[in-house]
Amino acid sequence: MSDKTDYLDDLIFELRMLDVPGDRIGQVMAEAENHLAESGETGPEAFGPARDYARQLAGVGGSAPGAKDSQGIWRVLVDGVTARDVLVGVTAFLLCGAGAAALINGVFALIWDLRTWFGINPWVLVGVGVVLLTGFGLFVKFLSDPIVDPRSGRAVDFDRHGHRKPSA
């Protein structure tokens, strides 16, 4: 694995932690990759440490409150979790949990002729379940903020270790 690939993966991670939007991350990644290819430098030579460069690009001077520190899971949880994150998490849980519960309750009632919650028509439960789960799916899609490479117009995929998968 080349030096340059690791540096850009780190840079992307740092930018994510700073809540930089996905399309901006894609632009930064593409410009940095182009620059390194033309200058022949390594990432650290051209841009300095990934975290510092990311903070500069995100307009963060020093350590700003609210910027997620990538060092240590506790710091992320304590400093990085905002009220918005909690709201998103609760909403996702309600949509997914209630949707699944309604759907399962309705389906079981139909298949095994069981009594449903509050005696609600099982088809209604199935319908509500499908609607809520669809809502959950859309919610996740809407929030997912993909990193798009502006050169190809395609989203960047990552493997389990956080390395960019090469595009076809």
Binding site: E33, N34, H35, L36, A46, F47, G48, G59
Partner: protein, 113 residues
């Protein structure tokens, strides 16, 4: 020709202006801008210094950008001046020249050259 090593505190003050002046000469992209700055005698400007400046200029509306594919190689992000950027450059260049003239008068008798 030796590469100048200007004090970084001086560069900090006007590098953004120099970058704007380079872009005003014609649509260009990141790496090419570092080459132009070096050719203009301003020394080596690292990517880590340049791209945050370009980001600020874009955000301020002084430059506009466009991703365009090259004939060979990947697409690049090209920078060009906006009308607001041209006005800003004109104003700041004027201020700079007045400032440097005053400073130059002060320095004249102390310098060898």
């Amino acid at each position: 020709m030796t590469e100048p090593n200007w004090p970084s505190s001086w560069l900090k003050g006007f590098l953004e202006l120099a970058v704007l002046a380079v872009i005003a000469e014609g649509e260009t992209y990141g790496y090419e801008i570092t080459a132009s700055l070096a050719a203009a005698g301003l020394g080596t400007v690292k990517g880590g210094t340049l791209y945050p400046i370009l980001g600020r200029l874009e955000e301020a509306g002084h430059v506009s950008t466009q991703w365009r594919a090259g004939e060979s190689g990947p697409g690049r992000k090209y920078y060009s001046m906006t009308a607001a950027g041209t006005r800003e450059l004109k104003a700041r260049a004027g201020t700079w020249r007045r400032f440097s003239t005053q400073l130059d008068n002060l320095m004249k008798e102390h310098a060898d050259v």
